[in-house]
Symmetry: C2
Subunit: 389 residues, 2 copies
């Protein structure tokens, strides 16, 4: 454990973003030869794999555009966003308009378009890029990717679906939390509020169907009929970080819509998640849990992931700002201290991704198949705004 | 850590099998209502999920048949094998004759037949069951499942394959090590030596293409052309337990064929794997590694799994018996001490499955999606035979 944890204030968050995180990616991630980004970056920024995973690539387009929009009109960031945008719109889609899961370094398709979240992050990336540079093709890209996302609701994995009739048909939290988030992003970036209905429907689904009335927490999977299934591993699965992330999306949307009741209900879930998901012995928030405490199918269930703690910082800072409840201030400070003393890399900047239950670093990577220029810089940006004053 | 580790002798291994492991499964695993087995069993044997995963189901058929054949003609074990055999042959296959990945408790298909190893374990289970009871339909089942396995060599995941043209085409160790093992099982159980050619080819592939000439260890994935790819995560991936398991299959086959040179070469690999995969700080063998020590894509790479240590006990005991080299005796004793002091459950019998890097138990399960009545009882049976005298 290092002692990077200063007192949680706007300056600390902003300085980490501008001095430690952005420079790491500016320096290491652009593939100037083929376009797109190198993302499998080791501790020192060296590239250990060149495959281009779609979630990751579009998230990077989004983040550079977002920084340009919200932090500073730095033309370099716009160029870096363009470097991904051009590459991905040129090579990224199959003949049905679905984004592949991954491309080879040169843009040839390497993994089939089995994940609806490839389309999801294309919506975010293209929408923010449109807002940053005003290119009409980017606006169209965001809209067509959103349509592809919506079209895939009934069968998100398409022909790669493995679940058959003997499995109770279930829906997954991720689809609905991102549907709400995408509608909000389109409203913000395209100035188009015609997705309010989709946003409201998705929020209602999360709060009324995925939130368990007794536990007060949000499940990962519920029956298509909205019923909970406590008899199966899948039905009992929890991902507290995921639920907490969904709650700040919802608090933020509710705040814009002026729905104070919804802000309070989402904030209640954040609190319930933290009470359920916090490791009372070693601190930090578990990755996966079983609601009844039965064995978890995921081997890494008790690991402590950077993104979970980033999302919890955003959610508690936002809940405190919007509700004024003291609980959230205390939780924010507790999570801040735990997180900032473990994840930042004092030597090469940026943050480590994976800790074991006890807080030991298990991987040296700064970017990989799942970690990229996204959760950490977004958290630093949003928290620096929330900590204002 | 408990102190179950006695001195490694035949009696200890046999007593653990007959007094602690077999009774746990005899008592808890049979589904008398629908047929097949309950396999998601918590520490005390209670059922925490009822889905029936195909690998697991057929491995259980194999193990009960094997015990009947090699330990004692206990009719109850034959009945328990029949309980799976009847259920799986009735419900297990799709219209193309491929085994589903999973069935619901009542036998309806729940997961698509995307894994060639479902067919693989059907070969083992049906062949051993045939040898135990002589039913002609079981012999036919073993042969047709083996044909299905061979037919799937070029595209083991069938229409669920996600890899596209941008990925360097690779082959996976698992397919070839199991091809060699299945040919050996068919020879042993059906008395049919017509698969010698397939066995020899598969062994040559493992030893000549997957074994790296400089490292002396076996890789998980190599190019279709047999070339190593040290520039990608997939190409650098190692799974020492897998490689060690492959080596005792090969030593055993080589011994039967009278090929002493091959015995020695496979034994050399076991030694190289142990030197590479043993955790010098905390003991035990890592689950996944990167040959260049770069970040591993699997979060759980540094965990210590029961099956890895079971396979290492078999491999070192066998290598010592066949080569007489003192190294293997020392390694066997070292692995024995580490394993027996951590995995056995002193309270409910059977062994725990998953430990973190430091040797702490992370899951209470005795059976799950991947652990079943297979690696542990097979190891206890084989080691008790190898430790004879």
């Amino acid at each position: 454990m290092n002692n990077a944890a200063g007192s949680p204030n706007k300056e600390l968050y902003l300085r980490e973003l501008t001095d430690k995180v952005i420079p790491f990616w500016e320096k290491n991630c652009t593939d100037r030869e083929y376009g797109g980004y190198f993302n499998s970056l080791d501790r020192d920024g060296s590239v250990y794999d060149t495959e281009k995973f779609m979630w990751i690539q579009w998230r990077t387009v989004w983040m550079f555009s977002e920084l340009y929009l919200k932090l500073r009109k730095n033309e370099r960031w716009l160029e870096m966003a363009a470097c991904g945008y051009e590459f991905l719109t040129r090579y990224g889609k199959d003949e049905q308009g679905r984004y592949y899961f991954a491309l080879a370094r040169d843009g040839s398709p390497s993994m089939a378009p089995y994940s609806v979240f490839s389309d999801c992050f294309a919506v975010m990336g293209a929408a923010a890029y449109y807002r940053a540079c005003g290119r009409e093709d980017a606006r169209q890209e965001a809209l067509s990717a959103f349509q592809s996302y919506l079209d895939r609701e009934d069968r998100p994995k398409g022909e790669w679906t493995k679940e058959l009739s003997g499995r109770k048909p279930m829906k997954n939290l991720g689809f609905y939390m991102m549907k709400a988030n995408l509608a909000a992003v389109l409203e913000e970036c395209l100035g188009d509020s015609s997705y309010r209905r989709e946003m409201r429907e998705a929020i209602d689904t999360v709060m009324n169907e995925f939130r368990h009335p007794e536990y007060g927490i949000v499940f990962e999977n519920v029956g298509l009929d909205g019923n909970f299934d406590l008899s199966s591993m899948i039905g009992r699965q929890l991902n507290p970080g995921h639920a907490i992330e969904a709650m700040w999306f919802i608090m933020s949307a509710a705040d814009r819509m002026g729905d104070r009741g919804l802000v309070e209900r989402a904030a209640d879930v954040v609190l319930a998640e933290l009470k359920f998901g916090w490791d009372k012995e070693y601190g930090g928030i578990y990755y996966f849990m079983d609601v009844l405490g039965k064995p978890h199918v995921e081997l890494q269930w008790n690991m402590k992931l950077w993104w979970v703690h980033c999302e919890a910082l955003v959610a508690t800072a936002m809940a405190y700002k919007l509700t004024g409840r003291q609980d959230f201030k205390e939780w924010f400070e507790k999570i801040h201290a735990w997180t900032w003393s473990r994840y930042p890399d004092p030597e090469y900047g940026e943050w480590f991704a994976y800790l074991d239950r006890f807080g030991n670093i298990t991987h040296t990577l700064k970017g990989g198949k799942w970690k990229c220029f996204f959760h950490l810089p977004r958290m630093l940006l949003v928290c620096s705004q929330l900590l204002e004053g």
